[in-house]
């Protein structure tokens, strides 16, 4: 493939970006990327295409594939931030000194209700983390995991917890249960 130094090939890049736009928009829409964040994803993919133009044989497939991958990465990063925020908040809530007994009992009961919907492995892990205040190394020792893999397992459990915490909005709530807080 010839290089971008030639004006007609610069034109072909522009043409490709123009032609690929409907497919790219569809990818953004399918992945529900907020418009305010779409710019970063698009720019990153298009600049990478520009820099690697001479090496890419099938630019449109490459661009669409790259966009899909970047959208997946975008949500992975966002989910990571959310899980971290949920985790820190729960640890903080449990650590609040001298909380009234009733408040603390309600918190424990609400937390247990969410934990009850997780797999037994995640439930045990998070109970050690939240209930007994174990750190990652102690959790790994207690549950027989290697220290090197405990972070990954914990992250998966935190993701499951966050999904369950938010899933209540999509579930049919049993009669008599309060729907709104």
């Amino acid at each position: 493939m010839a290089t971008l130094d030639h004006p007609e090939l610069r034109e072909s890049l522009n043409l490709l970006l123009k032609n690929a736009r409907p497919r790219l928009e569809r990818v953004l829409r399918n992945f529900e990327i907020p418009p305010e964040d779409a710019e970063d994803i698009l720019q990153d993919a298009q600049l990478t295409l520009l820099y690697k133009w001479d090496k890419i044989r099938s630019p449109e497939s490459w661009l669409v594939g790259t966009m899909k991958k970047k959208c997946i990465m975008y949500w992975r990063k966002r989910r990571g931030s959310l899980c971290e925020a949920v985790d820190t908040a729960i640890l903080d809530l449990l650590a609040v000194p001298q909380a009234p007994d009733q408040e603390r009992a309600e918190l424990t009961s609400d937390l247990n209700r969410v934990l009850a919907r997780l797999s037994s492995r995640c439930r045990s892990l998070l109970k050690l983390r939240y209930g007994l205040g174990y750190g990652p190394t102690e959790v790994a020792e207690q549950m027989g995991y290697r220290t090197s893999s405990i972070r990954k397992v914990t992250n998966r459990c935190l993701a499951a917890l966050t999904r369950q915490l938010l899933a209540v909005g999509f579930d049919r709530v049993p009669e008599g249960d309060p729907q709104d807080g």
């Binding site: 990478t48 820099y51 971290e84």
Partner: protein
């Protein structure tokens, strides 16, 4: 928190941008099973379970984003074209210098610290018909050095990591050709480390897999070599890159010890629709070599 948090607060929480106190209040509110807030937050902060699944999130208008990115790309395109126009002359200048001066010049002259110049060095070092391996080694070393000096603020940190990975892989490949398998192995390890911090471009990965499979072939570790080539082939198929598929098949042919099986693979490689003359030439040369080997 008795009242529902407002939408902007929920949105900031979804991005992990709230203070710890505010996050605590929101999580307490969610734990109390506030259905409407959970719904709102899930639609904005969690990925769709399946792309295209409608969860009530407002469809976005991406027109402004496309327009802005178009302008940015045009600016970068002009800058890159200027870099590419200057690179060949710069390489000639550099090659006219004695070896020790070249390294100094490449390290100190900001004119050398461009994407286009680095790519040119790597392309020159990675020429398939390597006539002068010591020269290729010098160029590949310069390529690694220049790639390490590219400004992430200009080219993007992940893209720079990709190019550094490519540079290390090219250097490793030259070392393999020179028979220095130990340092070739180290070079590929460096390339893979950088690739992990890169853009995740599968094409970049496939090129490294192809080069590494040659090393495994030289080391007589054929099973690993075939596994690497199968991965490169899968990437080629996924990206509809027949050139890449052809190269992977060609390499498999080289590594096959049974002549018939190898010829079948070569035949398959040569049938790829968009193979270049170079690839066809490579295939026929490889087939001739194989026949010679068999007749001996």
């Amino acid at each position: 928190m008795d009242r529902h948090p407002d939408l902007s607060l929920l949105a900031s929480f979804g991005r992990g941008r709230l203070s710890r106190l505010q996050s605590r209040q929101i999580v307490r509110h969610l734990l109390a099973r506030c259905g409407s807030c959970c719904r709102t937050l899930a639609a904005r902060a969690l990925p769709p379970l399946r792309p295209g699944e409608n969860r009530g999130a407002t469809p976005g208008d991406y027109g402004a984003a496309f327009a802005k990115v178009w302008r940015q790309t045009a600016l970068r395109q002009a800058a890159l074209a200027a870099e590419r126009a200057a690179a060949p002359e710069l390489l000639r200048e550099l090659l006219a210098q004695p070896a020790d001066r070249r390294e100094l010049l490449a390290a100190t002259s900001p004119r050398c610290h461009t994407w286009a110049f680095c790519e040119l060095l790597l392309d020159a070092a990675g020429e398939p018909d390597l006539q002068d391996p010591p020269q290729a080694l010098a160029l590949a070393r310069l390529g690694v050095d220049v790639a390490g000096r590219l400004a992430p603020a200009v080219y993007g940190e992940e893209r720079v990591n990709d190019l550094q990975a490519r540079a290390w892989a090219v250097l490793a490949n030259v070392r393999r050709i020179l028979g220095d398998f130990q340092r070739a192995e180290e070079g590929f390890a460096n390339a893979e480390r950088r690739l992990k911090k890169g853009t995740g471009d599968p094409l970049e990965k496939a090129q490294i897999l192809l080069l590494k499979s040659s090393l495994r072939g030289n080391q007589q570790r054929f099973r690993e070599a075939f596994r690497l080539l199968d991965r490169a082939l899968a990437i080629g198929c996924k990206l509809a890159d027949e050139q890449l598929c052809g190269k992977a098949l060609l390499m498999k042919g080289f590594l096959r010890r049974e002549a018939i099986a190898a010829l079948l693979v070569f035949h398959q490689a040569a049938q790829m629709e968009s193979v270049t003359l170079n690839l066809i030439h490579d295939v026929s040369r490889a087939a001739r070599g194989l026949r010679r080997r068999e007749s001996r």
